[in-house]
Amino acid sequence: MSHTPSRRGLLFGTAAVSAGALLTACTSNEPSSKDDSKGDAAPAADETGKAVTIGFAGPQADHGWLNAINVQARQRAKKYKDVTLDITEGSNDTATQIGQIDTLINKKVDVLVILPADGKALTQAGLKAMRAGIPVVNLDRVFANPQAYRCYVGGDNYGMGLNAGHYIGEKLKDTKNAKVIELSGPDSLELTKQRSKGFDDALKNYTNIKKVARQAADFTVESGQQKMAQLLQAQKSFDALWNHDDDQGVGALRAVDQAGRDGFLMVGGAGARSAMDHIKADDAVLKATVLYPPTMAASAIDLARALGQGKGLAGLSESEIPTSLTLYSAVVDKTNIDQYMPSGFK
């Protein structure tokens, strides 16, 4: 389940380690010790405390990763006897989501966890909740104004690109004139730009490698198949591919299979179960995936509960929870697959 107890597998020290990453268990990118074997016990768990109602507003779970976010939040909330979770129906429409947050504010929930469909667009809704005295845990897509949330927890898109780039760079460092291609997510999303930027920055460390092509897919299997088929047609030979998302990767792998292509290394993104299965079985060009852990939803519930009960986090010598924490995008390959397999989402 969820909790990746430690993030050994720290392949590259250069990785962007953002604020709050020192937090034990849920975010540490250092080997946070083997004695962190509380297993599923949540960091702020300890004894049952004051009853807390947590409101949760997120986008429509039309995608494997977003679905995993909901599952993680629900499962974690269930673990606490003192937590009641009030989840609104997901929507990708800004106006609808604002309305749902308003409803939760009116219901006077103790803490709000918000994963906005669009962080910038939902800033006002976050501000409104904070002004109403309800602390907000902003999940994954950050609000434009720090006043709109008490605590941010999310993934590291730039770091995802960076780690994918370094992994590929290390694998290809002895290859002369190595060619790399990129199958990105939708260009309309901020996170896609950050992922690509991280990837490009990492590749700059390897002068023998050149990125020869980049096409954007839509985070869907269909678009992954379509765009990859065209990339394969355009590039008669290349050495590595980074695909931003494992869902569209299902389609990309299908296209690779249909074209009968081989002889290159593919790195995925997000950490879907299907990708991990391929990595473990070593039966495809996909050799690694860079995590963007949906377990952050469980962490958000922990933080929200701690906020509601006015506690700090176990293992952190503070009496308050941090303002911001960014999860580490570990690279999962054959060497550490068993450790991460349980967090693979369907």
Binding site: D62, P186, D218, V221, E222, Q225, Q230, R254, K346
Partner: protein
């Protein structure tokens, strides 16, 4: 719905070869069709030829910018394969639009049919299970659309919009947001290179078959003539003895069936079912039909034109990808080409 004679129609020749004897005044076009049409299998008209010209120009562009890659046989196979799924959908949509209707639910029906066909339970029945489920779900959605529109009196726009929302919702519910991976090898094999027949992918053969059947139905059957008549002037068609309601029901069933076929092709192609399948197909299919010369108000349209519309779109996307253009540039250029194609068409048609 009466059809005003638009300027574009003046003197425009139409690929619909004949007008049914009972199809009278209101839908008769000012420009008399040249020749009876029955004698030749395919009577080229100016609009269609101008589309062929656009496609040829694109092929020249592709050939010049990326000669080795664009003109390769594998690329030709790719372009045709990528046209198959949306192409089959477009054939169905063309019928609906010719008859004066609209179907906004095609993308959602493709999504629903594909995820239903790839549930674990359905996959247990193998190839036949997946195929039949795709077709039946497509037909079922088409039936609901048809009944609501023909007998429920709902405007096609509203009825199919409602279907769009509910079919997507149901697709999401069935998958729970998860991608369903197909494990039935006989289905997967159909999308593989070794299944090509004389170098033609099976998907393309299905597409071709749908096009030929669609062309024959529209141009050589009473059903086709009635569809055009209903789109030209429903009231006149009714007075001429056509059961307009039943005709409309059949048309949405046909569109649903095409979605079912497309869903199966998509499952073969992508090897999975996902609720995001068929995203924006409704717009792509309508755009292709319009580019192909189908009038949005009904009464005129050709299958060949629609297919050319689809091929033009896919070829553009292919050339962009081969030249490594980014998606923003692709979208702008795609919009420009839509406008250009329609303008060229109008101009040539007027002459």
């Amino acid at each position: 719905m009466t059809q005003p004679a638009s300027p574009a129609q003046q003197g425009g020749s139409d690929a619909g070869p004949v007008l049914a004897p009972h199809q009278t005044s209101a839908s008769t076009k000012p420009g008399t069709p040249k020749g009876a049409g029955q004698s030749k299998l395919f009577r080229p008209d100016v609009r269609t030829l101008s589309l062929v010209g656009v496609l040829a120009a694109l092929i020249v562009v592709g050939g010049i910018t990326k000669p080795d890659q664009f003109l390769a046989v594998t690329n030709l196979q790719l372009v045709l394969t990528q046209s198959s799924v949306i192409g089959v959908v477009t054939v169905g949509v063309t019928f609906v639009i010719i008859a004066g209707g609209i179907d906004l639910s095609v993308g959602a029906i493709v999504a629903l049919a594909s995820v239903w066909a790839t549930t674990v339970a359905t996959q247990e029945y193998g190839f036949v299970g997946i195929l039949l489920t795709s077709l039946l779900v497509g037909l079922g959605c088409g039936l609901v659309n048809g009944v609501l529109i023909a007998y429920g009196g709902l405007v096609p726009f509203i009825a199919t919009l409602a279907m769009l929302a509910s079919a997507r919702g149901l697709a999401l519910q069935i998958t729970d947001g998860q991608t369903q991976i197909v494990t039935v090898n006989s289905v997967l094999d159909l999308g593989q290179r070794d299944s090509y027949i004389l170098g033609i992918p099976p998907l393309v053969l299905v597409f071709a078959a749908v096009v030929i059947v669609g062309w024959l139905v529209l141009n050589r059957t009473t059903f086709g003539r009635r569809s055009i008549a209903v789109g030209g002037n429903a009231e006149a068609a009714r007075l001429a003895g056509i059961d307009v309601r039943r005709q409309r029901l059949y048309l949405y069933l046909l569109s649903g069936l095409c979605c079912g076929i497309a869903a199966f092709l998509l499952v073969v192609l992508a090897g999975s079912g996902q609720n995001t399948n068929g995203n924006l197909y409704e717009l792509d299919a309508i755009a292709a039909a319009i580019i192909g010369g189908t009038l949005l108000i009904g009464g005129r349209g050709t299958i060949v034109g629609s297919v050319l519309g689809v091929l033009i779109f896919t070829t553009i996307t292919n050339i962009f990808a081969l030249n490594n253009l980014q998606s923003d540039v692709q979208q702008i250029a795609k919009g420009a080409i839509i406008v250009a194609a329609v303008l060229v068409q109008r101009r040539t048609a007027r002459q």
